[in-house]
């Protein structure tokens, strides 16, 4: 492999470490150097270089001893900073949690370390994973084009992976927070089936909607990350190989931008050429999923930060403070109705998936957008950015179904275009197999 180590695929690094061609110490040193040279991206809140180097030396000794190696042995990865790490400050991107040093790792971190991963640091994110970046931690820049937003809330996780500052990252997703940044940075992002991996040790937004998941530069890399995450063994039989791909009959309020439409057409053609049957499918309304997700998550997070909101509201950034106040005002009867609608949506999803194995849909309605933009123009009309980027994501959280972002074309100007795939609960393997067919990688990170 040519190019600096930090630009290599995760899978190749792991294989080269196992074959003793590269030391984990070399990999960690290369990534730390990349992070130091690219501080302006602001992908990390905390780089744990000393601990990572100590872990790398231990991993190196394990290789030299001939120990059995886990799927992420010696691989430097990053964690969104709402995931607890023993002895390392965990902030959730908010001054109200800054200074918290957990006494234990989150369950997913325990699993990742057992799989051999080396935590290189904690990624920047939207404050409390719900709204906008706090000025104390600052915006993360998009490595492909620094005028573009990174999306959120796992902004630093996606930027770090896209920029070669980590070989993979773990984000969290309550309504699209893994998938939107993955789309904005042209990466693979996997929102797992709700409950497949433990959330214990993750600072919550909404416990029933929150999901941890990998962000990676390829499908294969995402598979390895998932293999190291400690997923529960919930299926007795492997799912049958996917044959029928659903295409939503109604794509929702905001019309598709040309880039999103083109990515969909490319994906459809590629799947048809591979022999898959495409069939129109009626899904629950995307706008309703967003409303249900927003109502439940707003109330849940307002309850979680209730004391902080009452005692020190000025410590939240204005957008997050507004979200928390709004969540505090949701009457119980509306919250309960949102929960009933959630169950209704789950039933509709099960019906939709009775005829198809996987559903193909856009990642976002709009193309990657400028940082700070609140409105975008499409076909001569103005649209709000937030519902347009969340048009296709909350359905996965509300229904509990897994969803994958996969690049379908190489980068030309800006990040590579992506599409999204939804699958049945616990059938992440079907999504990854289709994602691998669609995958047209961008090549190495920017700057190689």
């Amino acid at each position: 492999m040519t190019g600096p180590i930090w630009s290599w695929p995760l899978a190749m690094l792991r294989d080269d470490i196992a074959a003793r061609r590269v030391s984990p110490v070399e990999a960690v040193t290369a990534v730390i150097g990349r992070i130091e040279s690219r501080r302006q991206i602001n992908a990390f809140i905390n780089v744990t270089a000393e601990r990572a180097l100590a872990d790398a030396r231990e991993r190196e000794q394990a290789v030299m001893r001939g120990d059995a190696l886990g799927p992420l042995h010696g691989v430097p990865i990053a964690l969104k900073d709402n995931i607890a790490t023993r002895g390392v400050e965990t902030t959730a991107g908010s001054p109200v949690r800054a200074g918290w040093i957990p006494e234990a790792d989150a369950d997913v971190v325990v699993a990742l370390r057992a799989a051999g991963a080396i935590v290189i640091g904690k990624n920047n994110l939207f404050e409390a994973a719900f709204g906008a970046a706090h000025p104390r931690f600052g915006e993360t820049l998009n490595p492909w084009d620094q005028t573009l937003s990174c999306g959120g809330s796992s902004s630093g996780s996606a930027a770090a992976v896209a920029d070669g500052q980590a070989f993979g990252a773990i984000g969290t997703d309550t309504g699209g927070s893994i998938r939107i940044p993955a789309t904005m940075c042209g990466l693979v992002g996997l929102k797992l089936t709700n409950g497949l991996v433990s959330n214990r040790g993750v600072i919550p937004v909404s416990p029933g909607l929150d999901v941890v998941g990998p962000i990676a530069r390829s499908i294969r890399d995402a598979e390895l990350m998932l293999a190291g995450m400690g997923a529960k063994d919930v299926r007795r039989e492997p799912p049958r190989p996917p044959e029928t791909i659903g295409i939503p009959a109604d794509l929702g309020r905001t019309p598709l931008a040309p880039q999103a439409e083109r990515a969909m057409n490319v994906a459809k053609r590629r799947l048809e050429r591979q022999g898959f049957r495409l069939r129109e499918v009626t899904l629950p309304k995307s706008a309703l999923s967003l409303d249900v997700m927003w109502t439940i998550a707003s109330a849940d997070i307002a309850e979680y930060y209730r004391n902080e909101l009452g005692r020190r509201p000025e410590d939240f950034c204005p957008q997050v403070r507004r979200n928390l106040i709004a969540g505090s005002m949701i009457p119980a009867v509306d919250y309960i109705r949102a929960r009933r609608l959630q169950r209704h949506i789950r039933r509709r999803m099960a019906e939709a998936f009775s005829d198809v194995d996987v559903v193909l849909m856009p990642s976002m309605a709009i193309a990657p957008y400028p940082s700070g933009a609140e409105r975008v123009s499409l076909a001569g009309k103005e649209y709000d950015v937030l519902p347009a980027i969340m048009q296709f994501t909350p359905l996965a959280n509300v229904s509990g179904y897994p969803a994958l972002i996969a690049p379908v074309e190489p980068a030309t100007a800006g990040p590579p275009p992506t599409v999204q795939l939804y699958g049945r609960p616990y059938e992440e393997s079907a999504l990854l197999s289709i994602g691998a067919i669609l995958e047209r990688l961008s090549g190495p990170p920017p700057g190689v």
């Binding site: 909101l309 507004r322 979200n323 106040i325 949701i330 509306d334 109705r337 949102a338 609608l341």
Partner: protein, 72 residues
Amino acid sequence: MIYRDDREIAVESQSNETARLASMIVVRVGALMLDRLSAREVERCVRDIEGTLDRIRGAPLPDAIWDDEAAQ
């Protein structure tokens, strides 16, 4: 308009809904916080959530008699 004195917190607004919801901030979030919020910020919070809640209230659902929970 929102004001506070030593004895009471009151909310006046041309919009009854804004007044009602701003009052709820007092009840649900705490009077302490109201000192630090502007009327504009409260109104924006109300605007942020009211459209969402209106759609939640209006979304069709089967009668709860026939809902899943009734079958438990």
